[in-house]
């Protein structure tokens, strides 16, 4: 009893102080660190929080939804001021988001959206995944200029929204161009090692001469695939054109060496716009739009890829 009243007393003493300092505590439930881009997103999010004087509680879910749900529940129990969530899958968030809403804690989605009612979250900051795929598809259409081309595709994690949307976007991008044909499409789980393994199986099954281009749902898989192509005695970037998405430093290094052809940037700074929207919401009650879109920039061999690599390599990719 004595201990409890002591705790309450100390909590009461601390509470006004933290309000005066106006510093926010925000929980961030991150998917994991399956790709370099994800690690950069984590770094940039921490930087953005530090810049604004926000106390960021970071939880890595190791690719498991149950861990993310647990983390969000713990954030609610801690009574944080807001929650940033990068959801690992789109489904199954209603229950825990309702609990957050009940506790009046705004939830901001980063980089991916969820299949839940829109009133359960404040806003979602994402790139347009379909658009990214479409940019990649259109680039290949122009590059090939009507020549026949067999494309192999390395998909992302099965069932994840970037895998679904980037596939859809690419198909939209090459629609109506019968010279381009997707002959094989398999998941590489967004990882370098799987990208290499699956590319090896593509090369074995189809023969290197029969493949003219590779479309990978992220750069890491493309980097793995480059390795596989080299080991098969072919020249990546020439014998097999490579287009991928994310714009991580290593792909720029590969592009500088002529081993990859194009990448579409997925900016790792999702937290910046999200925290801006949150601060506006908390200070003046401005409700942000439900969807804040980030830019999808195309990099090709015409850009100074060495310079881009230098600029990006410090971000933790």
């Amino acid at each position: 009893m004595k201990l409890k009243s002591l705790l309450i007393a100390s909590a009461m003493m601390l509470a006004p102080a933290s309000v005066m300092a106006a510093d926010l505590t925000i929980g961030f439930s991150q998917i994991g660190s399956e790709s370099g881009w994800r690690a950069a997103e984590t770094t940039v999010t921490k930087q953005e929080a530090e810049k604004r004087g926000i106390d960021l509680k970071f939880a890595d879910a190791q690719q498991k939804q149950e861990n993310q749900i647990k983390a969000i529940r713990s954030f609610i129990a801690q009574d944080v001021d807001a929650i940033l969530l990068a959801p690992v899958v789109a489904t199954g968030w209603d229950e825990v988001l309702e609990e957050a809403k009940d506790a009046e804690i705004p939830v901001l989605l980063l980089d991916r959206t969820v299949d839940a009612s829109e009133d359960l979250y404040l806003t979602a900051v994402t790139s347009d995944l379909v658009h990214e795929g479409e940019v990649a598809g259109k680039w290949l259409v122009e590059e090939m200029a009507g020549k026949p081309c067999n494309v192999v595709e390395l998909q992302g994690t099965t069932g994840s929204s970037p895998a679904i949307d980037r596939k859809k976007g690419f198909e939209q991008g090459i629609a109506g161009h019968d010279n381009l044909k997707i002959i094989r499409s398999q998941t590489g789980d967004f990882t370098r090692s799987q990208g290499k393994v699956v590319m090896e199986s593509f090369l074995k099954a189809e023969g290197g001469a029969n493949i003219c281009a590779l479309y990978a749902h992220n750069d890491d898989m493309a980097v793995g695939a480059i390795q596989a192509i080299k080991e098969a005695g072919l020249k990546p970037g020439q014998d097999i054109k490579i287009v991928s998405i994310d714009s991580v430093p290593d792909i720029h290094l590969a592009m500088a060496a002529g081993e990859a052809n194009a990448t579409i940037e997925l900016t790792p700074n999702m937290a910046g716009p999200a925290l801006d929207a949150l601060e506006a919401y908390l200070s003046s009650g401005t409700t942000p739009p439900k969807w804040i879109q980030t830019e999808s920039r195309l990099y090709t061999l015409k850009d100074d890829n060495q310079a881009v690599y230098e600029a990006k390599k410090g971000l933790g990719y």
Binding site: A59, E66, G92
Partner: protein
């Protein structure tokens, strides 16, 4: 003797209490109904599957298939509720029958073909995961209104904690598990089997039906955990719950059950689950530690408990040794 068999259980409970007090000393918010309710809700599926795993390990076996069976159950429910108009309760019964039969089949192979449980259940793990993928590679949402009804069944405690139906199902499973393990013939047979198949046979334990029963129980509880998991996420996803079998085994061992079988308590597993949940909660509360520390701490605990078990076994056999010497010709 009684003291040495109870000691691991006592150590587990004391570890949990000490950890909880330490954690709440640092973060007073951990001493809230929210955290307690979260511990029950978030670990419900793991707890249920760990009860089955306790029986399997008590009998000296292992069941690696449970994580895949949970995923399969979830995907099966999601697909069948999407594509047919069958009532969820009927679907639950159907999927439970399937998982019990699946477990029983593995038990039968282990017993009649005299195969190591490790290999048979490893095959079961690939089989169930593969079947889940065949049903659907996407995460399939479950939108049945009966699910909404089940999810809205909770008691909101003062302080905001929500004690949900799934957490209660886990508690009920533990209580029934304790009764079965300690108060029934089947439970006695499980302990006897864990003490050694040869001795168990001489004692008149029906080896075939006990082995099949144990794996059927584990399969059935994995099915129940799958139902709970589908309520937890309102979806079926073939990539879900990868590695949960290992978490369950860790919880059983931290709970004081001997990996070689024959000694342990279902109640210990409950505290094993709570300890693992508590570590995760602490790491999220801290917010700066890498979440992989969860694995490191659990690994450390596992080592500590294995050493404790080894020490106890050594102490008890050392005491018995003069007797054995005396009996030898």
């Amino acid at each position: 003797m009684i003291r040495s068999t109870h000691l691991p259980l006592v150590v587990t409970i004391l570890t949990f209490l000490a950890a909880f007090v330490l954690c709440s000393g640092q973060y007073p918010a951990m001493m809230s109904t929210r955290v307690v309710a979260n511990l029950l809700t978030d670990n419900a599926f793991l707890g249920i599957v760990a009860v089955g795993m306790t029986f399997v390990i008590l009998s000296g076996g292992i069941d690696l298939s449970v994580g895949s069976v949970i995923a399969f159950t979830g995907v099966f429910l999601a697909v069948i509720l999407r594509d047919t108009s069958i009532h969820p309760l009927a679907a639950f019964a159907l999927v439970l029958a399937m998982t019990i039969a699946f477990g029983a089949a593995m038990g039968a192979i282990i017993h009649y073909l005299d195969m190591p449980a490790f290999i048979v259940t490893l095959a079961g793990m690939f089989l169930a995961r593969g079947l889940a993928y065949v049903l659907s590679t996407d995460s399939v949402p479950i939108t049945h209104e009966f699910y909404d009804v089940l999810q809205s069944l909770y008691w909101k405690a003062p302080g905001g904690g929500r004690f949900r139906l799934t957490g209660m199902v886990m508690l009920a499973t533990f209580i029934i598990g304790m009764v079965v393990a300690h108060r029934t013939r089947f439970g006695q047979n499980v302990y006897a089997l864990g003490g050694g198949a040869q001795t168990a046979r001489l004692m008149g334990v029906p080896l075939a039906s006990t082995t099949i029963g144990i794996y059927a129980l584990s399969g059935g509880l994995a099915g129940l955990a799958g139902i709970v998991f589908s309520l937890y996420t309102s979806a079926g996803y073939s990539l879900a719950t990868v590695g949960v079998e290992l978490d369950a085994i860790a919880a059983v061992v931290i709970g004081g059950t001997l990996l070689s079988g024959g000694s342990g308590f279902v109640a210990g597993t409950f505290f094993g689950i709570l300890i693992m949940g508590l570590i995760q909660t602490y790491i999220v509360f801290d917010g700066t530690l890498s979440s992989w520390w969860t694995k490191i701490v659990i690994g450390g605990l596992l080592f500590a408990f294995i050493l404790l078990q080894k020490g106890l076994t050594w102490a008890t056999t050392a005491r018995r040794k003069p007797l054995i010497d005396f009996a030898a010709p």
